[in-house]
């Protein structure tokens, strides 16, 4: 293993250890409730940027995949009482299949048509689930949490740890894709798809692969949400805000490197949590809109881009 990989895995191990320690030492429930949401957004943002960032196919499908993850978990739990691990694994498989189907249909379209097509797919999927009586339809469905296992005292603490595991998994996968030949191929097709195709890059296959992996991870992130809320309802599970928030997080953080969406998710996710609690959910949406506009206009490469520019400037000053 290369030196940077060793550093990465040590960091991941430290992160998970810190999470477990938190669950053992902190008595108050609130940090776990808020922390869960932020970890969930990290998973969603990193997963999104596999297709949206590396390949440059800006999609609005996050809400669809997240919602499908929620409802896969709901369906399995209601039908078979399946444990959380199975719900998540099943959601990942459903997400992969959905990513494949969506990918084949939409990835042949370019630019804005692709983006609009992903909005279309999201609404169609949401409408279909809204009409599915078994999982509650438009009114939603209530869920009862199963008893929690040691070493965790509360269910939310366990969910917090589970989501932390998903963070490590998602970041590891995104990092691998980024530094591998797949990452170079995606970067080439993002820069110039026709030139990439004529240089031997199998663009459709790579795009669909990115869509499958991205979809599987986003669905997996949605599965625990059903237990987190103990309630599922189509208009909130499939809310377009997820798509736009996650898009904003990746744009704000920067899409060239996996650390970008992580930073963006932490920054925007924390801001949203603070605002919703202290002021109102409308201001939340306003901040989302303003930050999106601001970063897209002023700092198109996100925070990573700003850091890189500052680094280049300092190097230039020294030279």
């Amino acid at each position: 293993m290369s030196r940077s990989s060793i550093r990465f895995w040590i960091g991941a191990a430290l992160f998970l250890t810190a999470v477990v320690l938190m669950t053992q030492l902190i008595r108050n429930e609130y940090p776990f409730f808020a922390g869960y949401v932020i970890l969930q957004f990290i998973v969603l943002a990193v997963a999104w940027s596999i297709l949206g960032g590396y390949a440059g196919y800006v999609n609005f499908g996050t809400s669809a995949f997240f919602g499908v993850g929620v409802y896969t978990a709901v369906f399995l739990f209601k039908a078979t009482g399946a444990p959380l691990a199975v719900q998540i694994a099943a959601a990942a498989i459903v997400g992969a299949l959905l990513g494949f189907a969506v990918g084949l249909v939409t990835l042949r379209m370019q630019g804005i048509y692709f983006s609009i097509a992903t909005i279309a797919m999201t609404i169609i999927i949401e409408t279909t689930v809204t009409n599915w009586r078994y999982v509650g339809g438009a009114a939603g469905i209530q869920l009862q949490r199963p008893p929690v296992m040691p070493p965790f005292d509360t269910y939310v603490q366990m969910l917090f740890f589970v989501q932390a595991l998903l963070v490590v998994l998602t970041v590891a996968i995104a990092r691998y894709m980024q530094i591998s030949w797949m990452g170079r191929g995606l970067q080439a097709l993002k820069d110039d798809e026709l030139a990439a195709e004529c240089t031997g890059v199998p663009t459709l296959r790579l795009k669909v692969t990115a869509c499958v992996i991205s979809g599987a991870l986003m669905c997996a992130a949605g599965a625990p949400a059903a237990m987190y809320l103990q309630y599922a309802e189509p208009s909130s599970a499939f809310n377009l805000n997820y798509s736009v928030s996650v898009l904003a997080m990746s744009l704000i953080g920067g899409t060239a490197h996996w650390i970008g969406p992580v930073l963006g998710a932490i920054l925007l996710g924390t801001t949203q949590q603070l605002l919703t609690v202290s002021i109102s959910s409308e201001v939340n949406v306003l901040v989302l809109g303003v930050m999106l506009v601001l970063f897209v206009v002023v700092a198109p490469e996100g925070i990573i881009g700003l850091i890189r520019k500052a680094g280049r400037k300092r190097a230039g000053d020294r030279a």
Partner: protein, 250 residues
């Protein structure tokens, strides 16, 4: 100058009855031509005559309404562009299309990563050497680790050709690589293409600069409004009355 392959050598590229339409507009009309292995083939014609369309059909960027493209004995008409590249067809673009977020060396790395699948697999350690040797051949070695954004026009054109060469092609198509260059830059690129031809690669060159076409080509084909109006030795084609009319107007 090497004589073209005789009639008993199979053509490396056989285009038969190729037709391409855009809505009501016929861009290529029943075009048929054989290109021989190792040949230096010039393609000329006024603007809009279908030269780049023909290249797009050969490289797979366009699907055709009728006709076939057979490369090295295989019918590649249904194949996607990236597969044709792996079979050995490479092209440069009229307006250079570098991968802007990468360095010059990384641009060529993409070709080594993807175009040498199945054929000549190059182990990772050797890739840097392979890239550097191609860049040295093209006179771009000093620019290897620089971003493509800083390259001059002629350097961009050479990088296009370098990246095409990195796919290890049997057939290289150069689309107006010399357009807009100064006469010494034109000579630079022309010498490069002649050197590549000397390595046994079949080259189709689209150009408007007639001296370059004359110096380079063993055979020249002239298109006008999607049809072939002349094909043969350069001097013959240039002297052809229909060719002169096409360029100057009647």
């Amino acid at each position: 100058m090497m004589p073209p392959g005789g009639p008993d050598r199979a053509p490396v590229l056989r285009i038969s009855a190729l037709t391409k339409r855009f809505g009501g507009f016929i861009a290529l009309d029943n075009v048929s031509v054989d290109i021989h292995p190792g040949e230096r083939f010039g393609l000329i014609g006024p603007n809009g005559s279908g030269k780049t369309t023909l290249i797009n059909c050969i490289s797979g960027a366009f699907r055709t309404e009728a006709g076939t493209v057979v490369f090295a004995g295989e019918d590649i008409t249904p194949l996607a562009p990236h597969i044709r590249t792996r079979r050995g067809i490479a092209r440069s673009f009229q307006i250079p299309r570098p991968f802007k977020s990468m360095t010059v060396a990384e641009n060529l790395m993409v070709a080594l990563d993807f175009a040498s699948v199945g054929g000549d697999f190059i182990p990772a350690a050797q890739r840097r050497d392979t890239v550097m040797s191609i860049l040295t051949q093209m006179g771009l070695a000093s620019k290897a680790d620089l971003s493509t954004l800083g390259l001059s026009q002629v350097e961009l054109r050479k990088m296009e050709l370098a990246r095409a060469m990195a796919t290890h092609p049997k057939l290289l198509i150069s689309d107006e690589a010399m357009a807009g260059l100064s006469s010494s830059e034109v000579d630079e690129v022309l010498d490069l293409l002649i050197k590549l031809a000397g390595q046994g690669i079949t080259i189709i060159m689209i150009e408007h600069i007639m001296q370059a076409v004359m110096r380079f080509s063993e055979r020249v084909m002239c298109l006008d409004a999607g049809k072939i109006i002349a094909i043969g030795a350069p001097a013959e084609v240039m002297a052809n009355q229909r060719v002169q009319e096409a360029y100057l107007g009647t």
